[in-house]
């Protein structure tokens, strides 16, 4: 599995975009004084901090969604792997084999499978199709590859999102510090003037 994992490349990013999901990029603040002086921020650190906090919350929400998608894919890949493993077993099989299969939750049923050249694959949407072993294998492999490609997309987006999150966190810390400095300066001024 690890072999295939490294072999499948991440698909190309859409043009002019740094993430697949089109996640907005967090601005990097170079000069904090200039940033606070922007008309949107009006030199009001509390308001700016609130805005950044809101943005941070949005990023966290996206992160949560991506995490859920990743979990789903991570589960799908071993499932496909097991199906492939089963095909391999069926291919090697030359005589009747005894099995116990899941009839319903927690209920297993004994049965014998004769050697077979075909398997039925569940395609979803209440459709099941019979395939020769080779074709079934290539179909499952193709599914596996697309699952891995999707996983890579999600991982890329997760990385990108983390960057934006961290940038926003740093910005928040800096805006906060800026606010403290300004407050102290104001306090000093009123002390000296009184």
């Amino acid at each position: 599995m690890t072999g295939l994992m490294d072999k499948v490349e991440m698909p190309k990013l859409p043009e002019n975009q740094k993430s697949f999901a089109g996640i907005p990029e967090a601005v990097f603040v170079d000069e904090i004084d200039n940033f606070m002086g922007l008309s949107d921020n009006e030199n009001n650190w509390e308001k700016t901090l609130h805005k950044l906090d809101e943005q941070h919350g949005k990023y966290k929400f996206m992160q949560f969604n991506l995490e859920a998608r990743k979990r789903k894919l991570k589960q799908q890949i071993p499932d496909l792997e097991r199906s492939l493993q089963m095909i391999e077993i069926l291919r090697k099989q030359t005589e009747d084999k005894e099995t116990q299969f899941l009839l319903s939750n927690q209920i297993f049923c004994k049965t014998t499978i004769p050697p077979t050249k075909t398997v039925c694959l569940w395609l979803g949407a209440n459709v099941m199709l019979e395939y020769p072993l080779d074709e079934a294998e290539s179909l499952l492999k193709a599914n596996m590859e697309s699952a891995i490609a999707n996983l890579k997309i999600v991982e890329h987006d997760k990385d990108f999102l983390r960057d934006q999150c961290t940038t926003t966190e740093v910005n928040m810390a800096r805006v906060y510090n800026w606010g403290i400095i300004k407050q102290r300066q104001a306090a000093n001024k009123s002390q000296t003037s009184s």
């Binding site: 599995m1 170079d30 299969f101 899941l102 961290t166 810390a173 510090n177």
Partner: protein, 137 residues
């Protein structure tokens, strides 16, 4: 857990305000990213090690079985019957695979840790006490 700039109120000294350049920001981002990836890998490693332990136990368990005894092993959603040597072979193969996987993950972990300590040194050098990059462990 994640790297956070902790230049907040308690340890805050007005004169210790540092200017953060774009490169610094990139480094902080990178560090946070590597940290997150390391956490993911640790979970995966734990799972694989657990699997390996269980495989070993299973192997020990069937050691004393008779050769012609039918052993059921769960593959996917069905139990397949197999004789002793077949099951042992299956277990050994799975064990080898898991071991390879563990090696791979450990290799990746070491790689990330190396990069992280490099970044850590750079960032501490740059920001001193204004930044905290330690994990929970």
């Amino acid at each position: 857990m994640a790297a956070k700039v902790s230049s907040n109120s308690k340890a805050f000294q007005p004169d210790s305000d540092v200017h953060i350049t774009f490169e610094d920001q990139q480094k902080i981002n990178n560090f946070a990213k590597l940290n997150a990836r390391l956490e993911d890998l640790k979970v995966e490693l734990e799972q694989n090690k657990n699997d390996l332990k269980q495989l070993e136990e299973a192997k020990d368990e069937i050691e004393l079985f008779d050769e012609d005894e039918q052993i059921w092993s769960l593959i996917g959603e069905v139990f397949l019957g197999n004789d002793l040597s077949g099951t042992q072979q299956y277990l050994t193969e799975t064990q080898e695979k898991t071991k390879l996987e563990i090696k791979d993950i450990e290799h990746k972990c070491a790689d990330i840790q190396e990069k992280m300590s490099g970044l850590k040194a750079q960032l501490y050098h740059r920001f001193g006490n204004n930044i905290s990059l330690e994990g929970d462990d």
